[in-house]
Subunit: 197 residues, 2 copies
């Protein structure tokens, strides 16, 4: 299945190839690839270098994997349970002084974007799942209240889309689409298109 | 100046090389590189494929560049004014039905992470500036109130750190540091280190 982005301008191949599947192979991900995933997160930029990201990692069949599945919305739990690796991404909501870091979620996304990139380099896929129930995550993992649960990453080798339930199977095979870039790049004032394309 | 990340695990070279300088060369960035920057943003993942990102782009000397400088905090305005390209990143805070999209800032960060990556590939640098005054940005660019102003990107070719004012000059030359990854990867419960490193 070729899911490469159909781009108008020639970006780096890894950016074209990265996508967010729901179907994963059973094969477990090698620890060296997991190491690189976290090293990639580690070097993401963050506001004042606060590095607010924290991770809880589970491997298929272990306690943490089961717990992460239990905090997902039902629709996500169904397919994510089959992912060999699940990672809950949690962010510190305050800075060193205890003042609110409004950008913690922004910073976490930079880390997960780096992870998705490194995964693609390593031939594995990441789907970022924002459909989780934060209250449950807090209970199940005893998360400190200075932290916020933001998303879960499902990680693994590419799987067979036909193993997914029916509406998802179709989505998995569908062509990837994006808005035209010229519609969202403005100049002088909001909504006034920049004539640069 | 070698700013490559000193990694414990061997990640993709572009992830090692990406960093956030404040010094930029005067040379303007070619339009083809700007195109690739936005194409990279375009293919970022987003919650329900909402693609909440909008951009306002200014080139050194033009009206938008001046306006963007005017909405930055003083400390950022000083050096950012010299960046050949400034891009204000704005996000739609609601979905197609008008319901709040709490993840708009998370999604914007995925787009800007992709942009920083593609920039590095193209030999240019991006510094993401979160120090801006949103109220001013709304006024100056007549931004609709369903949108939020999140950050500004300074873009350009690498410059001479010695052109920066003194505290920043030192920061620019300092070694890049990050927390040890084993301190932030947990299992079973929050704070319990995963023994995978």
């Amino acid at each position: 299945m070729n899911k490469e982005a159909k781009t108008n301008y020639d970006i780096h191949p890894v950016l074209k190839q990265r996508w967010s599947p729901r179907a994963f192979a059973e094969k477990q991900v090698e620890l060296e690839k997991i190491h690189r995933l976290f090293e990639a997160a580690r070097w993401a930029p963050s506001n004042n270098n606060l590095q607010p990201w924290r991770f809880l990692i589970g491997f298929k069949g272990d306690e943490t994997h089961n717990k992460i599945v239990s905090v997902l919305t039902e629709a996500n739990a169904e397919w994510a349970d089959k992912a060999p690796v699940l990672i809950l991404v949690v962010g510190k909501k305050v800075n060193h002084k205890g003042d609110p870091n409004k950008l913690f979620s922004f910073d976490l996304a930079q880390a997960t974007a780096n992870m998705a990139f490194q995964a693609t380099v390593d031939g594995i896929n990441v789907r970022q799942i924002t459909g989780l129930i934060p209250r449950k995550a807090f209970e199940v993992f005893a998360i400190h209240d200075l932290y916020g649960a933001v998303c879960t990453l499902a990680v693994g080798y590419p799987g067979d889309p036909d193993t997914l339930p029916n509406p998802l199977k179709k989505q998995e095979k569908a062509e990837r689409t994006r808005n035209p870039i010229e519609d969202v790049v403005y100049t002088v004032k909001f909504g006034q298109k920049a004539n640069i394309f």
